[in-house]
């Protein structure tokens, strides 16, 4: 048991950069926010530096980031840098990679950001409540040469389960939420507020960074009247392409970078719809065109982003491991369901329902080994499966090669779906592999894989 000894240096090829250091201070504590417009009251939240989402952290690729975190909550916390290939000790997983930060205490995270792109940060300690109450924020790593756009905008998408007095419903860990789709809220916010409009100008080109910070809600966004190009997924560049069916689907914790040319007329309005859940489609907000155009016709600059320094997995020589996900309502396990649910264990990874972050690894990989994980969702529910410390190419779904072989750190799996993901296990340590529907994670849907540096095999 316990973590492997981690060699200093971590990602040897990319962590050695001696660029400038960006200093950030984050204070996690109670706050108040105007989630819903007046005359409704403000909402008591948990916040980084008083706001939800917390401050957007922006660094340049290859820079060092040093974040001093002070915990003013009444409970332990940590911060996980979702999608960033950090050294294991900076990964923010309680007890597995660090001692959680006690109330009143501080901890400093420090690492080099190897990849440009859109990432985010959030607690990994009791995240089903801490993230839901507002602890989350965007982390944007800028390319040395940014895409040529008129505006670079981040939308942190989130939802909240609010009562009539605009307070957050306290029913965390509700077992029907746990056994079904997770805690999906009734109030959807963009950057912390319910919004009516987002102002744009005719001829404008916007890079829109979407971050799904919701516990459980899957978004399926459609930009009516606009041709949207996806240029990055989970921070990693992808061949620019239109979303399938015109809809950008983002499971919890996933990100997408879009480029949208504002081709509408001055003064026009277009709806941005979320159509993911049938019969519960709704308008997220309107794109509202200003009366004065920015320019006659949009920019024609190229959309492709430069690649990140990711090691390419050797699929032919890869070690292959099967990972199965079971459980939940409407599964074959229904007979024992209620019994299992009584203990709070509803989901399992390779037959094990986790009760904490520290556990024996499902398997170990020698550092540098190419690996294919064959993921099997044997359940009747969607699951965004997140691997820490690495980005993975999604190489197939249900046996069919994927068109874009996209790099992801969070792979959304439909009910009964299979997917193969490939990566080089180049980052030593014990890493979580878990569902990012936080209620599923808390109800057992997590496991650990180990990447062993040379000389540590037992």
């Amino acid at each position: 048991m316990g973590g492997v000894a981690v060699l200093a240096g971590g990602l040897s090829s990319i962590a050695q950069s001696a660029g400038p250091t960006k200093e950030v201070r984050l204070v996690a504590g109670p706050g108040r926010a105007r989630v819903v417009p007046s005359p409704h009251p403000e909402t008591a939240i948990w916040a980084y530096n008083g706001t939800a989402p917390g401050p957007e952290i922006r660094v340049r690729q290859g820079e060092r980031l040093r974040v001093a975190v002070e915990n003013r909550l009444q409970e332990e916390t940590t911060i996980h840098w979702h999608g960033v290939r950090v050294p294991n000790a900076m990964d923010g997983v309680p007890h597995l990679t660090q001692k959680p930060i006690a109330p009143g205490e501080s901890f400093t995270y420090e690492f080099t950001v190897p990849d440009a792109g859109t990432y985010w940060y959030h607690p990994h300690q009791r995240s089903l409540e801490q993230v839901e109450r507002g602890l989350c924020g965007a982390l944007v790593v800028e390319e040395p040469e940014p895409l040529q756009v008129d505006r670079d905008v981040t939308w942190v998408l989130d939802d909240w389960r609010l009562l009539k007095d605009a307070s957050i419903s306290g029913d965390f860990g509700n077992r029907m939420d746990a056994g079904m789709s997770g805690r999906i809220g009734n109030t959807v916010t963009v950057n912390g507020r319910v919004r009516e409009t987002f102002g744009v100008r005719a001829g404008e080109r916007i890079r829109l960074r979407l971050v799904n910070a919701a516990n459980a809600r899957i978004f399926g966004l459609e930009f009516e009247g606009h041709r949207v190009q996806i240029v990055a997924l989970d921070g990693q560049p992808v061949e620019p392409h239109a979303p399938e069916g015109g809809r950008i689907v983002l499971g919890p914790a996933m990100r997408a970078d879009l480029v949208i040319d504002m081709t509408g007329a001055p003064g026009a309005r277009f709806r941005v719809m979320d159509t993911f859940y049938q019969d519960l489609e709704y308008r997220l907000l309107d794109l509202a065109y200003a009366d004065a155009p920015l320019r006659e016709r949009p920019l024609e600059a190229p959309l492709a982003l430069p690649g990140n320094p990711l090691p390419e997995p050797d699929v032919g020589a890869a070690a292959r491991h099967e990972v199965t996900f079971d459980g939940g309502m409407m599964s074959g396990m229904m007979g024992g369901m209620m019994q299992g649910m009584g203990r709070g264990h509803v989901w399992a990874v390779n037959g094990v329902s986790a009760s904490g972050h520290v556990m024996d690894p499902m398997f170990a990989l020698p550092q540098g080994q190419s690996c294919i994980l064959a993921l099997h969702n044997n359940t009747a529910w969607h699951h965004p499966i997140h691997l820490h410390g690495h980005s993975c190419r999604v190489i197939s779904r249900n046996g069919e090669p994927t068109r874009h072989r996209e790099w992801q750190d969070t792979v959304l799996m439909a009910p009964r779906e299979r997917a193969e993901i490939a990566f080089v296990a180049d980052n030593p340590g014990d890493w979580m592999l878990h569902c990012h529907i936080l209620e599923h994670q808390a109800a057992g849907m997590m496991g650990v894989i180990r990447v062993e540096p040379p000389g540590t095999r037992t």
């Binding site: 029913d171 009734n186 109030t187």
Partner: protein
Amino acid sequence: MQGLLSATHDARKDTQMLRLISALGLLLMAIAGANAAEPARKATLYKSPQCSCCEEYAKYLRGNGFEVKVVATHDLALIRRDNGVPTAVEGCHTMLLGDRVIEGHVPVSAINLLLEKHPQVRGISLPGMPQGSPGMTGRKTAPFTIYSFGDGSHKVFATD
């Protein structure tokens, strides 16, 4: 935008509307309390948009003379709370039948028993999603225990 507390969203998906309905349910209970001679047969079933067995349950009820409107919602937890369903006996969907609450895959025999013989009982539940229950696949392996609830507590109502 979708906001529970916002006045501008689409009424079709209006969660406030659900609250109105449940408030109305309470009102009806207060007024019509003992009038069980003509049991209500019109029901509204609230379900997760991603749960398919609830539709099957609605079909089962329709086959037994009920009129059932199915409404997808993300607010099941709040609807349960507003209608007094204890967390210990939660099923996978919640149905309002006049002033009564039917939670989960409750067999019609138990609903009829509730309507005909127990005018004071707020609602009944078959917790979880037991195999072989109405609307569920699989084979029934043991009798179902149906619970009644009303004042925050629950007790055995019937076995089936």
